[in-house]
Symmetry: C2
Subunit: 340 residues, 2 copies
DNA sequence: CGAGTTCCTGCAATCGATTTCAGTATCGAA
DNA sequence: TTCGATACTGAAATCGATTGCAGGAACTCG
């Protein structure tokens, strides 16, 4: 049913070769011939077969994108940014989800490989370093996190700075016992945010205490458990403020606080990482470190496409590492600590 | 340096033809030969070129999916359901976003067409009826909404029943003036939910009043404006309860109520359509009609794949229309109306 | 007018996997 | 021992678009 280039050529009374050139390299074909071909193509509503073209040209205008969890609004925003940027340059995207699962990531990469994408944008899972060997000569940009690969291009936010600013805000309010719930040690963003937390404490002359820092494993339930553990102590030992490393765990922390009947911000101040709809809808509205997720993803995709279209080899190009800065948004969930 | 089937064949000392058969139709090849081939394939970590295969077989194991807005958590859930179902059967998915824009939808379909997908799952935009002609012989399943095409397969929820149940809950509490914010008349779900609202009112012997029903155009801002208009009246004319047609508009309505300083549920009861994280996190938690979005999408994809693999022709198969039921979740945002 | 360009077009090869068709080897039965 | 059936294997065509190369026409310039 699909009309092929041969049909167009026949209708335009030229060879398939000429038809092909008329459509994709118009300047190499005489004006009048070109007209005949384009008309024929329009008349038959010809659509080139991407598979055939891709086979010959070794790769179609296709990108792979691997994100960690489409249900997380932040990641969904990344997905949208990638797609919009790709669509604008007339690329299509194969999108995969890993659910933070290294094995799923591997399968996604294998499946992707057969489609011969021109490039890859990935939010690397903890095991990405190994997995990415599967596609070692595919131009790749790492988004939001770093896999730790030596010559990778990465587009991330300034996690250290964002975390530092958040915790500085808390110390400036007079908090001394500030807890943190971070993701996990095998994800670079979590490590960096923890680093920012430590730097801010140090800057305020507050000693780092291991018992105030727990992993929440990036998920709501982990955040709830961690917060419960941190906060379920007598008032004089309990942290007076909490810094939470991502949006899902922040929800968990809020649930834990409700279970323990702690009030915000009178009993406890809280700052989250990642802004979201509900953060400003809550009462009180949650103070957060906002990330420019859409811009980040858009930029990652553009970076990749520029690299592809300039024909710069993956190998020779010096790895670029771009950091966008975060925005601190003060709302109503932070206040001076309760009087002792 | 993609390894091709020819390389595998050479290493296994067989012809490419045999190598191909050994991998895809094992029973037609002698055991010992098959072993040699599979070993060679593993050794070279051979990955078939989907483009070449797709070219020859006229179509790769690829599906198209078009959803309306990946940033809406409900739609993101649909995306995930589709992907999981497809991955389980070893299909890959081209995912597109329309942002409810008919023109974007058209471009997505055109782009998709060139990739020769085996099938399509679509959340139709208002203009889908026209756009879908572009791919008229592609097996298609409509998800969540109906385009109105005669012989379409659709997988939706029971919007009428869900809305009816929500409004019955309100009438049972004693509400008489119940407002509704619906999406728009050109989207089937919105029309059906409005229908359910009318049926529930009728069942309770309450007259339908046009001035209590406004369109919010599916978006947060539309919902806010509509709610503001409905609620900005003296207490004795103001609705005592509000039924909102989707999650985004519910957020808008909540913002409007905050602007007008109306308290939930003492001044006003509210029921939303679509459950979400924040609905149960809010204080008070919001009563909603929940949709089985993941199941819906998973089922849509399975339906499509079954149809494909049973080789049932698109034309002859009688159109299936599946409805899943919604779940009413009573939380704390509904209560009897304030005494007059 | 002839040689050298320039411009345009078509032939045929190519990408990688699948599949038809024909050919060889093996085995059982007569 | 020979014939036919069965089981495997390989050569070559095919899918649809692109592209290197060669050839013909037209045009320029001496």
């Amino acid at each position: 049913m699909m009309t092929s280039l041969k049909d167009v050529a026949k209708l335009a009374r030229v060879s398939p070769a000429t038809a092909s050139r008329a459509l994709s390299k118009p300047e190499t074909v005489a004006f009048i011939t070109r007209e005949r071909v384009t008309n024929a193509a329009k008349q038959l509503s010809y659509q080139p077969n991407v598979l055939a073209r891709g086979l010959r040209q070794r790769g179609s205008r296709t990108l792979g994108a691997i994100i960690s969890d489409i249900l997380n609004p932040g990641q969904a925003t990344l997905a949208k940014g990638i797609q919009d940027a790709a669509a604008k340059r007339d690329y299509t995207v194969f999108m995969f989800n890993t659910d933070e699962d290294t094995e799923k990531e591997r399968r996604a990469l294998e499946s992707l490989r057969g489609h011969l994408p021109q490039g890859l944008i990935i939010v690397p899972s903890p095991g990405a370093r190994e997995n990415l060997k599967l596609v070692s000569n595919l131009p790749t940009v790492e988004l939001d996190r770093s896999s730790g690969l030596r010559d990778a291009h990465t587009i991330m936010v300034d996690n250290v700075g964002g975390a530092r600013e958040a915790v500085q805000h808390l110390t400036a309010l007079g908090h001394k016992r500030i807890g943190m719930i971070f993701g996990s040690m095998d994800v670079s963003t979590a490590v960096e945010r923890l680093q920012g937390y430590r730097e801010a404490l140090e800057g305020a002359g507050i000693a780092y205490r291991e018992d105030l820092v727990l992993s929440g494993n990036h998920r709501e339930e982990g955040g709830r458990v961690a917060a419960h553990t941190l906060l379920n102590r007598p008032a004089h030992q309990r942290p007076t403020a909490l810094f939470v490393g991502n949006n899902e765990m922040t929800i968990g922390a809020l649930l834990a606080m409700r279970e323990l009947e702690l009030r915000i911000p009178s009993d406890l101040s809280i700052v989250g990482f990642d802004d979201s709809r509900w953060a400003k809808l809550m009462q009180p509205a949650i103070t957060v470190v906002a990330q420019p997720a859409y811009e980040l993803a858009y930029l990652a995709c553009e970076t990749l496409l520029n690299r592809l279209e300039n024909g710069v080899s993956h190998q020779t190009m010096r790895p670029a590492s771009i950091r966008l800065s975060t925005t601190f948004i003060k709302r109503d969930s932070t206040a001076p600590p309760p009087p002792t």
